[in-house]
Symmetry: C2
Subunit: 397 residues, 2 copies
């Protein structure tokens, strides 16, 4: 079996573990669940077959290691999924990392530096009120363990009191292959990208207050229609991001109308604007323009306006050394990789606090992700794995 | 006690019957409930005190009559309320009608034609899945009685099998004094209006279909955002009605987003556009422009669009003879009444099928209605009652 066929077969095997029983399709491997445990056992067997020494840390991150000198070079991804998750998100980074290490061991023998593959226990936040659980443990940034998570850990024989022991200060670089989860690479015909940064996010909750009036008896010129005002703001959020251009994105995904009755002019609308940009100045410019334009619209229409920051996460740049190294690895493999910002969050943004981090993206067909449609051309998967292997070789040998 | 003081006191008395116990305030007198029955008994006592002969028809409409020759001249309104209803909606038409008839009897003695005051049992549809129950009975247009309504009728000794007996073919004219429930009269400083027509209504359900995408990984130019499209349509609905000018109104009061998640580009939005105009051509022009502009927006954005008519009610003009008579009555009382379209529905639109109908509106302070804030300047109530009495005099004496 060629390396590529093995990669595809292993992805199929993982995808079959936790297959959703209902009509929605896809797989679901929530943290500490039975599908999650079964997938970990399968990966551990593959690691052992490849000659890696395996261990589980205190939160259940699975590590496979080839010994060497100095700080570790690590690759991998998360093993958990969202509900109705796809075949590649997370799984690809683990399976491709293992394939890359196997290929290096076969071609070059033992590395100079320790070389590790990790199956991170959780990233998606699809079971408990947490996310980046595995990478927070690796960076030693878990302060308290939620009782519900602690109970689930104990069922699997993991001791919640020991989470601090999962922290690592002996990792030099973490590099991850992931699917893009968007359609930028596919639409530009590019097979591979080096991530430059993971975007910063701001969630602004916007409350627009007008006056509930009878939809029949209130002439248009005597209304204070909260929804008509909010609609203008939704339009503004979209056009601000469009006018700033890529990589700025702004989305109103959640919107509620009060009283939400057919024959009543809406008195109140609450919506949330999700604003993302890879650099802090850009993210702030986006926020400032949204605040300003919403203010103008509200005052022109005599509406009340309240804007509250629900959540704010700074952008995280990928390490310049790792980006340069990934670019060199791509060139060595005969491909010109694009540079791309990640609009979604990844473990690398947490791990960046304690180590050098970098990421490779392969195209997502139709931009689909977090659903059974999630797919990437096998040629692209093979190329991504080859560039990952080359990068690991450049760092560990 | 002057006629005006009596009018105000009777309005207070009715408002106290069915006072809502909870924090929202206002009164609630749902059809066939105990507050509804108590209010009816109070009105019947007033009718008898005024020398009217009273009777209840098969659905519980309460009639107070002074005998005469030929077809009846009738005034009145509905006695039921919405939840947290105000002091004037419905109640005013009954109390003012009774005051007017009392004043006429005192000043002029017995009328030539039969003169009647009616407390219509139900108009609001706030208890059962019906509305205009009383006026449908009067026009003989009730085909079947819902079992839930029938049970409530039997509890009060009303026989559901006899609803057909409530039909009247001996009414010449029905005229009603009502509050405007909007702010047109107040904002133009006009104390009285003659209703020219009750608007036609169309409820269009608009379904906008885009594609759910990750809010972080999908660049603005690769999105099919159903909410951004729907927001443009909401804006269009508003600006079409504004550009057509009074009396056209168009409202999006109800809107739902799917999947309604902060970090997901909306894949689907369903909203309902409530379109009203007093003439059919105007209502259709409104609908046509909304359909056309929504179509343009959807196709420009590559969104799916489905528009479905949920409900369509034709406009009902008030009878030209009654409008002319009301204008004359107003002039006789020294006031120049405005002409106004009713944006809300009223019993007159049902009764129009079997008799001549007309309505007078007095201003609503701040346009407030269907809430405890519902109020009208006592001067305006007195004027409205005086013009109503003059109109009844012109018709019945």
């Amino acid at each position: 079996m060629t390396g590529n066929a093995l990669l595809e077969r292993r992805l199929d095997e993982l995808y079959a573990i936790g297959a959703e029983p209902d009509g929605g399709g896809g797989a679901y491997r929530p943290l500490y669940g039975s599908a999650w445990a079964a997938a970990g056992e399968r990966v551990e067997r593959w690691m052992k077959d490849a000659g890696l020494e395996t261990r589980r840390d205190a939160v259940g991150n699975l590590w496979g290691r080839i010994e060497g000198t100095g700080k570790s070079i690590v690759t991998g991804s998360h093993i958990d999924t969202v509900r109705h998750g796809g075949r590649l998100d997370g799984a690809l980074g683990i399976v491709a990392g293992l394939s890359a290490v196997e290929a290096l061991l076969k071609a070059n023998g033992k590395p100079k530096r320790p070389l590790e593959v990790v199956a991170i226990c959780e990233e998606e936040g699809s079971r408990f009120k947490t996310s980046f659980w595995g990478s927070h443990a690796i960076t030693g940034t878990i302060d308290t363990v939620d009782p519900e998570i602690a109970a689930a850990m104990r069922e699997l024989g993991l001791d919640p009191a020991k989470v601090a022991s999962a922290a690592r200060d002996d990792i030099d670089t973490f590099v991850e292959l992931h699917i893009e989860q968007g359609a930028v690479l596919e639409s530009s015909g590019t097979p591979l990208a080096i991530v430059s940064a993971i975007v910063g996010t701001a969630h602004l909750e916007v409350t627009v207050t007008g006056r509930s009036d009878h939809a029949g008896t209130t002439p248009m010129d005597l209304r204070l229609d909260a929804l008509a005002g909010a609609a203008a703001m939704v339009q503004a959020v979209e056009s601000i991001a469009k006018s700033l251009g890529r990589p700025a994105v702004a989305t109103v995904g959640k919107l509620e109308v009060e009283p939400d009755q057919i024959n009543v002019v809406p008195g109140k609308v609450v919506f949330i604007a999700d604003l993302r940009h890879p650099d802090l100045a850009g993210r702030r410019a986006l926020e400032e323009r949204v605040r300003s334009l919403c203010g103008t619209i509200a005052s022109e229409r005599g509406l009340g306006l309240d804007i509250r920051m629900l959540q704010e996460r700074p952008p995280v740049p990928m390490h310049s050394d790792v980006r340069a190294l990934l670019a060199r690895a791509a060139t060595d493999c005969g491909v010109q990789a694009a540079e791309l910002v990640s609009g979604a969050g990844h473990d690398a943004q947490i791990l960046a606090a304690r180590m050098k981090v970098g990421m490779l993206f392969v195209p997502s067909i139709g931009g689909r992700s977090h659903c059974p449609d999630e797919a990437t051309n096998p040629r692209d998967l093979e190329l991504g794995t080859r560039v990952l292997a080359k990068a690991l070789e450049l760092m560990a040998y």
